[in-house]
């Protein structure tokens, strides 16, 4: 199964990963990191195909991907 890991401390809540995921499995959560940003979180992880589109677009290099 494919999966992603988000370094939440690096996330700045831009939503670029959210709109780039072809499987809609990332959302902006209601949790805040130490910089005050609502960070992105993996949702419905079983749908993830490991395409790494989210990681490619993430400006903050906050996403790593396994497949």
């Amino acid at each position: 199964m494919a999966r992603i890991e988000i370094t939440t401390e690096a996330c700045k809540s831009c939503s670029y990963c959210v709109i780039s995921c072809p499987k809609q499995c990332i959302e902006i959560s209601d949790k805040v990191n130490s910089k005050g940003y609502l960070y992105a979180a993996s949702v419905r992880p079983e749908d993830c195909i490991g395409c790494a589109m989210c990681a490619q677009i993430c400006p903050e290099s906050a996403i790593e991907v396994w497949r």
């Binding site: 199964m1 910089k35 790494a52 993430c58 991907v65």
Partner: protein, 253 residues
């Protein structure tokens, strides 16, 4: 079940654990990432030397792992000339905004390109002076508001947007000129490829390359990151179409 493999790893070109100083949605950080990835793919991370312009790129000094120096505003082309000529085996790139490269540094930019200096220029065109709070740049679009053009850029008073890739393409010496963006995963991949190609040309001694990245400044455009993508695609790409302007390496067979 097959064993899982890591298919995307944060580049070693960025300091481990560092969080960039760039604003949310700013593609300066994306560009720092893909420069690291391109150099890493070429096995050149330890050989990479960065000459930084003055602008928001200054935040990159706390973010990248390569050796670097910061040139006086606009003079990166001259500084990189000196570094590359005295250390010809280093992989040297300048990282410059549109204010740095196309306004105060225009003479150095044109002169280094005209000499066909063997380094790579990463030109980040966001149509504004980001660092200093959103003043008009030579690249600001007609009608676009900035702190120095509060009524929008008026060509009669402020001139027209300057297209640096097209202007540099008038010179004989440059080897490779391409304009890319980072607004979609596909464009990020293409931008990384362009940077990698430019680096490879430099390693092969081919001379001057410039990769222009048309990007955004969500903060000084006054738009949230997603809206800044719309403006980028609807307005910036219209004025600054993406594409290859010159690729001398493609001509050879």
């Amino acid at each position: 079940m097959a064993e899982e493999k890591k298919v995307y790893t944060r580049t070693k070109g960025i300091i481990e654990g560092a969080v960039s100083g760039f604003c949310p949605g700013c593609m300066h950080s994306t560009i720092h990432k893909i420069i690291g990835e391109a150099a890493e793919e070429l096995g050149q991370l330890d050989n990479l030397v960065r000459v930084e312009g003055v602008g928001c790129c200054g935040l990159g000094q706390f973010y990248v792992t390569c050796d670097e120096t910061i040139a006086a505003h606009g003079r990166a082309g001259a500084v990189a000339t000196g570094i590359k000529r005295s250390s010809p085996n280093s992989l040297v790139y300048t990282y410059q905004g549109d204010g740095d490269l196309a306004a105060i540094g225009l003479a150095e930019t044109m002169s280094a390109a005209n000499r066909g200096e063997n380094f790579t220029v990463i030109f980040v065109n966001n149509g504004i002076y980001g660092m200093t709070g959103g003043q008009m740049a030579p690249t600001t679009l007609v009608g676009m508001k900035s702190t120095t053009t509060p009524g929008g850029r008026n060509p009669e008073e402020h001139g027209y947007p300057m297209h640096m890739s097209e202007i540099l393409n008038q010179l004989t010496a440059p080897y490779y000129i391409e304009r890319v963006s980072c607004d979609t995963p596909q464009h990020v991949i293409a931008a990384r490829k362009a940077i990698k190609k430019a680096f490879q040309y430099q390693l092969d001694g081919k001379g001057y390359s410039i990769v222009e990245i048309v990007t955004s400044c969500p903060t000084n455009w006054g738009l949230d990151p997603l809206k800044s993508l719309d403006f980028l695609r609807e307005k910036m790409f219209e004025e600054y179409p993406l594409g290859v302007f010159r690729d001398e390496g493609k001509k050879l067979k």
